[in-house]
């Protein structure tokens, strides 16, 4: 079975199995003479799509780290909030992989990263109440995760459909 679905959204499993191989064609230099004109157009479109998705992702990262994700980057307000309030930062040192479906309407992004979470402890005992009273009581964690993002192209514009932070 191919790692990429024909017309659906590529799964995280498919990425893990063969993401590196699938990603490679977008970056390979192929002699122009070997490509038909429509192939070139399609390839150009896919490169433009990938560039747009990566720009969207960068924008989204800036907003997550600024704690100001807005629905205009996403298909809905629900999608904008799907990561959870406890995530306060995402540090991404690698580019990750972007896969675009054959029909060019959906895409998936897989980004190894470190996710920082911040949660305020419940005031359910005296010590926690005192920690909160002194301006603390916030637990922070940072752990390696794999960010899986699904994209949809709506009215010629890429937006985020879902975001999942899975085990790296």
């Amino acid at each position: 079975m191919s790692g990429m679905e024909n017309d659906g959204i590529a799964t995280r499993r498919s990425f893990l199995k063969s993401g590196a191989i699938l990603a490679a064609p977008l970056g390979l230099a192929v002699p122009g003479a070997a490509l038909a004109a429509d192939d070139r157009a399609m390839r150009l479109a896919r490169l433009e799509d990938e560039a747009a998705i990566r720009a969207l992702h960068r924008d989204w990262l800036v907003r997550v780290n600024g704690r100001s994700v807005t629905a205009d980057l996403c298909v809905s307000a629900r999608a904008a909030a799907c990561l959870g309030d406890e995530i306060c930062g995402i540090i991404q040192d690698e580019d990750g992989v972007v896969e675009i479906t054959a029909n060019g309407e959906r895409a998936s992004g897989y980004y190894p990263c470190r996710i920082e979470t911040e949660s305020r402890m419940a005031a359910e005992n005296t010590f926690a109440q005192m920690a909160l009273a002194q301006g603390g009581g916030v637990t922070r964690t940072s752990e390696p995760r794999l960010l899986s993002v699904e994209y949809a192209k709506i009215a010629d514009r890429w937006v985020i459909a879902t975001v999942e932070a899975g085990t790296a």
Partner: protein, 580 residues
């Protein structure tokens, strides 16, 4: 709340009078012109001189010292006012204190006469809702000398005094133990006048003058509101200081003092190496002058009547539930706990306490037991047990049907035939939902359990003076300080690992085996929880049980944390002759 202001009444039980502006002003008026009292001779070094103290973010004060007791002071170029003052010198450090007549304000200045660096403390009454509480604002500055450049350094808030402890004896004869386990709070034990061996906590300032000298303050918030401010010389173990405030009988203390000390020791600090910052607790948002974060537990503790307690307990009893809800005492304090064991399952035994009941047990499984008292009917109860050391079991359960809603937290040593029970009840005279505790010593009677004869677990001083950190869960770490034979203080760390807010309550300490101690603390006038822990000093892990009643009902919760030994203050000699 009973208002017996006798010396043995714990500070948190005293109903301090809410003094009015008029009462405070009248008391200050009597002493403002004369200046502070002092049992030691005051210095006349400034008589006939003038100095100007310039501060960075506060007032400039111009002083003219007419004599060794009278000065004139002008604030920011305003009209000079006359006041009584006192000056004490300690080597090259001066402490000047005076009030501003006709106001509820005054100043204390600490001057390093070698460098000219000065720290000015503006002091006033009425800055908090309870007007007897002294407020302070601290201004860094210097003594301006014509033709001499302004010193660049300032006395600096620092954590370098953190972890130290002193016994102090003032020239008034007043003796105290003063622990500095936090960079924002301190813990003090009045050895004179009290007789109840209790220690208390207060928000504090620590400013470093140099490696030898530190400025310390505390305001006894939630108690008398009195300010204590002194400069301590760590090496010579001497202090010069000021005390300003109203005591529990509403008499005004306004005096300078000298004191001599004894070093009690140094416990560990937990900030990163290189971090010497003070002011470790951030000020509240939009803080007013002098405002800081102060732990005021009575403001958040729900106070319930006996009828409310009975109703809450009847409706909700949660024993070792995974979560018991906000405010439910020790809930959330067992992420790092040891797992419960089945060691008691299928056992039958009797716990016979010397000054308490004899209770028969039939244990069904790891979570269910039945108990009966004096041959009465069997009652089933949920319990959990932990084996902190082979053969030593900690377990706890509620005693349904008892009028005071008893909970038993028991350590049973099946190898020695000994048992100790911390018996929690809800029958206190102050708040009906405040736990009380008594310690019961007894024996385990059962098949295969040796008979210990007259041997019993004993109260111990082996924990006295120790400080242990407890990491209950990520982000939730406290430090216990066992400051007296019957006090447990708890200090909450800031995110940087500095000691932050602190509070304290009554405690008890029982030795179970070498390296194994059963302790409790009571959160008197502070949530009302009874916390019990069995401390294993070898594994540095505790197992414990919290017993708590609030609006959400009565709960018994697991406590468990990873420990670190922060050190031990040498204080046993101050409690000699009162062993056990």
């Amino acid at each position: 709340m009973p208002a017996k202001p006798d010396p043995q009444t714990p500070m948190y039980r005293v109903a301090y009078t809410r003094l009015s502006d008029v009462q405070i002003g009248a008391a200050l008026a009597k002493v403002a012109k004369a200046g502070p009292a002092c049992a030691s001779p005051l210095s006349g070094d400034l008589a006939g001189k003038s100095i100007r103290i310039v501060t960075d973010k506060g007032p400039t004060l111009d002083y003219k010292f007419a004599s060794d007791r009278q000065l004139g002071v002008s604030e920011d170029g305003g009209n000079a006012v006359s006041a009584g003052y006192g000056l004490l010198l300690q080597d090259h450090i001066s402490l000047i204190a005076h009030l501003i007549p006709g106001t509820m304000r005054g100043y204390a200045s600490v001057i390093d006469n070698r460098s000219g660096i000065a720290t000015l403390f503006e002091l006033w009454f009425g800055g908090y809702a309870d007007k007897r509480e002294v407020s302070r604002e601290i201004y860094g500055g210097y003594v301006a000398v014509a033709g001499k450049p302004e010193p660049q350094r300032r006395h600096k808030a620092s954590n370098r005094a953190e972890g130290k402890g002193f016994y102090w004896k003032q020239d008034t004869g007043f003796e105290s133990l003063e622990y500095y386990p936090s960079a924002a709070y301190s813990h003090f034990v009045e050895l004179t006048h009290s007789g109840n061996e209790m220690g208390y906590c207060a928000p504090s300032d620590y400013l470093r003058i140099d490696d030898d000298y530190y400025i310390y303050t505390r305001v006894e918030c939630e108690f008398s509101g009195t300010l204590t401010l002194y400069v301590m010389d760590l090496n010579r173990q001497q202090q010069i200081g000021l005390r300003l405030g109203f005591d529990r009988l509403d008499a005004l203390d306004y005096y300078l003092f000298r004191g001599k000390g004894e070093w009690l020791g140094q416990i560990a600090q937990f900030e990163k190496f290189g971090d010497t910052a003070g002011n470790v607790i951030p000020p509240p948002d939009n803080a007013k002058k002098g405002e800081r974060r102060v732990y005021r537990p009575l403001q958040t503790m729900p106070r319930m009547s006996r009828a409310e307690v009975d109703k809450a307990v009847a409706e909700h009893r949660r024993v070792f539930a995974s979560r018991t809800g906000a405010g439910s005492g020790a809930s959330g304090m067992a992420t790092n706990g040891v797992p419960p064991v089945e060691a008691l399952a299928c056992r039958e035994f009797t716990l016979r306490y010397d000054d308490g009941p004899a209770i028969d047990y039939r244990v069904k499984d790891a979570e269910t037991l039945s108990w009966r008292m004096a041959g009465g009917a069997w009652t089933e109860a949920r319990y959990q047990a932990w084996e902190s050391m082979p053969g030593v079991i900690l377990f706890g359960h509620l005693l349904d049907g008892m009028p005071n809603h008893d909970g038993h937290m028991i350590v049973a040593d099946f190898d020695a035939g000994l048992a100790t029970c911390f018996n929690g009840t809800l029958k206190g005279p102050y708040f009906a939902n405040e736990a009380c505790a008594r310690t019961l010593f007894g024996v385990v009677v059962g098949q295969g359990v040796p008979a210990p004869g007259t041997l019993r677990h004993q109260r111990t001083r082996e924990m006295l003076g120790r400080a242990l950190t407890w990491n209950y869960a990520p982000g939730l770490t406290s430090m216990h300080l066992y400051s007296t034979p019957q006090t447990v203080s708890w200090i909450i760390f800031t995110d940087s690992g500095a000691g932050g807010m602190a509070w304290s309550g009554p405690g008890d300490f029982v030795k179970i085996r070498d390296g194994l101690y059963f302790c409790y603390w009571l959160e008197d006038a502070c949530n009302g929880t009874l916390g019990t822990i069995l401390i294993n000093m070898r594994t540095m892990h505790d197992a414990g049980i919290g017993y708590h009643c609030g609006m959400e009902g009565l709960s018994m919760s697991q406590i468990g944390a990873h420990g670190r030994h922060a050190g031990k203050y040498d204080v046993t000699r101050f409690f000699a002759g009162r062993e056990g």
